[in-house]
């Protein structure tokens, strides 16, 4: 199983994400933002947290125009798997791979703490290691995590069971408490909380481990 983790100037969770993939059994290639192609036979692409391009213009806006993001879009259009965490989620919305946008937190403050996250669906390669309704402890660390989508998009996400995670207590003003969503084919996950920061006992919690293990189970060669 091969994972690729994209590295933008300003990414700061890329190595954490790589370690979480490795601990679940993936071999990991780090891919530079200027690369125009992903490594061959990549099973999943990770778009990490951080401050790509200094968050200039809008979080994720410049990263979305980078050469590697063209390759990422082609990968997801072919039905490839991808996960974007925090700034990675912002990049996925800016590319249009996932719907909606992330606005400044309603309270205007950067928030860095562990929150309760409710698993809304176990019907995806990312969440099948949990039960719907489980509340897991996962850290958040963001200034622009306030998920916005228009009413039609929200209705579509609900109808198609594409809301992966919601906040047990809404920290940032996200519509319908949304913390993470899935693509229409359920193979792309974007989420603001950081499961890769809860994937090792040294982190003070391991509730994120099940996400990476579930992915490994789905993507393991038959």
């Amino acid at each position: 199983m091969r994972a690729a983790v994209i590295v933008f100037p300003g990414s700061n969770c890329d190595r954490d994400l790589a370690v979480a993939f490795e601990q679940a059994g993936f071999s990991v290639d780090m891919v530079w933002h200027k690369d125009a192609a992903l490594p061959d036979r990549v099973d999943i692409v990770g778009v990490p947290g951080g401050f790509s391009y200094g968050d200039y213009l809008r979080c994720g806006a410049i990263a979305a125009q980078s050469p590697i993001c063209k390759a990422l879009a082609a990968h997801t259009e072919r039905g490839g798997y991808a996960v974007g965490i925090c700034n990675g989620f912002q990049v996925l919305t800016e590319t249009g791979i996932l719907p909606g946008a992330l606005l400044r937190n309603a309270g205007l403050k950067y928030i860095c703490r562990t929150v309760g996250l409710k698993v809304e669906t176990s019907d995806s390669a990312f969440t099948e290691g949990y039960n719907a309704g489980d509340v897991i402890d996962i850290p958040i660390a963001h200034h622009d995590g306030n998920y916005f989508a228009n009413d039609e998009t929200l209705a579509l996400l609900k109808d198609q069971d594409r809301i992966a995670f919601t906040y047990a207590e809404n920290p940032n003003g996200s519509r319908d408490d949304i913390a993470g969503i899935l693509s229409h084919n359920r193979r792309v996950l974007g989420m603001m909380p950081h499961p890769e920061r809860a994937a090792d006992s040294g982190h003070g919690g391991t509730d994120g481990t099940a996400l990476f293990r579930a992915l490994a189970g789905v993507l393991a060669p038959a």
């Binding site: 213009l57 806006a61 719907p99 909606g100 946008a101 606005l103 937190n105 309270g107 989508a149």
Partner: protein
């Protein structure tokens, strides 16, 4: 040619920064302010032959996120 692009959050999209500015103005005694929306102004210096349609494309592809923002172009 120069173009000035105004980017504003769409009506109905919460603008917490504008709201914070409104609060501050109220605290300073400017009771006459009923609402504040904060946006961006982007100035472009354009080569000969550039058109408003070019700038519109730039706005749609990069300068504004049309999921949450609207833009206006002013040629100057």
């Amino acid at each position: 040619m120069k173009a000035r692009v105004h980017v504003m959050l769409k009506n109905g999209v919460l603008d917490p920064q504008g709201e914070a500015v409104r609060h501050a103005l109220g605290a300073m005694g400017f009771d006459q302010v009923e609402g504040v929306r904060q946006g961006k102004v982007i100035d472009l210096e354009l080569a000969e032959g550039a058109t408003e349609a070019d700038v519109t494309e730039m706005c749609e592809k990069l300068l504004a996120n049309t999921v949450i923002e609207r833009f206006e172009i002013e040629l100057i």
